[in-house]
Amino acid sequence: MSETTTNNQAVDESTDPDLQAEFDARLAADQKVEPRDWMPEKYRKTMIRQIAQHAHSEIIGQQPEGNWITRAPTLKRKAILMAKVQDEAGHGLYLYSAAETLGVSRDELMDMLHTGRQKYSSIFNYPTLSWADMGAVGWLVDGAAITNQVMLTRTSYGPYARAMIRICKEESFHQRQGYEIMLTLCNGTEAQKAMAQDALDRWWWPSLAMFGPPDAESTHTAQSVAWKIKRETNDELRQKFVDMTVPQAEILGLTIPDPDLEWDAEAGHYRFGEIDWDDFWQVVKGNGPCNRERIAHKTKAWDDGAWVRQAAVQHTRRASQASPSENLVLSPSDAGAA
């Protein structure tokens, strides 16, 4: 996904009307913008910010679920959870690569995450308190992420769209395994079903808030839609998610914690209550239950691994000194036969 960032990256501060016209025409024709095309600086910056935040979310998103790997109830569930957390790491890596095509380095991105200059999805600042949370997170959080990411497979920046296609293919497993955990709990004892209901009660509203502020207050949405970065607005995606999820809760026999939730037959949509945006903004601003813990854990892992990265670099230097050419190909017989 990094693709040809190698020679003369098209970083251009000027606003040449011809280049701007070419860029606009490309978007109008629904063609992708590729790394070495000219693009407005604002588009580049918006794209870096969005892809980086998406990547950081995948990486930090490993923590709430990693929390339960050692306490998974069966070996099967443990294997599944490890596979899911490994996928999140992979998704983060695809996205970092996509961000790097825009001329930002991996170290810079790491540093911006560690120092809080770039954010990640606030959903990961809530704690995972019981095993049922592994069900609710897969079902609701991954479900909300899929709704957003399916839209992003059609985003205008080529490397981002390609990363999204790969991620969406893998994400469906995440949601289904979560829903299956909920289903198993709901078909279990009273206590197990109560655990599932408790998880739904805690994750429902934060999942709806994942789509971001209402359209009327969202400063980025209009420009992002114009640039075809986003194809649907926050409110449209949120409605789509609610419409899909309410019947799934009914199958589980669980109650969505919203007294205002009702079916609007005329509109063909569920109407739902007011989201607590004060809580949302508190978490965005760093005051959620787990903000500090997540970054402290991530920074510690990065610092603790520094000697390994240094050793790997030194090893490569010494090996390439010993035989400068050998380091480039896997084995001579493997390469070459394209």
Binding site: M1, S2, T6, L93, D107, W307, V313, H315, L330
Partner: protein, 111 residues
């Protein structure tokens, strides 16, 4: 990075394309989905050397049997055509290079 290993005397700098000092170089990953098919570009990753890059490519790009073989190539080794030269390079219209350019009598049948 917060740990610094002092350089060995006469050491060659590890080749890093874009990015800051100390960052692992970038590799492009190509995956062959099955025997008989081409290796196709799958994405990229950072790794200190080719062997580590190939191992990591296995973990990052083939978690679901997407491939039977991977190649990794230093991104700095790729020379790309310039998008500004696209028309000169690719857009020449030569319809006589396509079979549909030639009108033959129906009696000839499939050719």
């Amino acid at each position: 990075m917060s740990y610094d290993v002092p350089p060995v005397e006469g050491e060659v700098e590890a080749e890093a394309n874009e990015g800051t000092a100390g960052e692992f170089p970038l590799w492009e990953v190509f995956v062959r989905a099955d025997r008989g098919l081409n290796h196709v570009h799958a994405g990229s990753l950072h790794a200190p050397d080719a062997e580590t890059a190939a191992r990591n490519a296995r973990d990052v790009y083939t978690r679901r049997q997407e491939g039977v073989s991977v190649w990794v190539v230093p991104s700095s080794a790729i020379y790309a055509s310039d998008p500004d030269d696209r028309e000169a390079w690719f857009d020449s219209e030569k319809p006589y290079r396509h079979p549909t350019f030639y009108e033959l009598p129906d009696e000839v049948g499939h050719m």
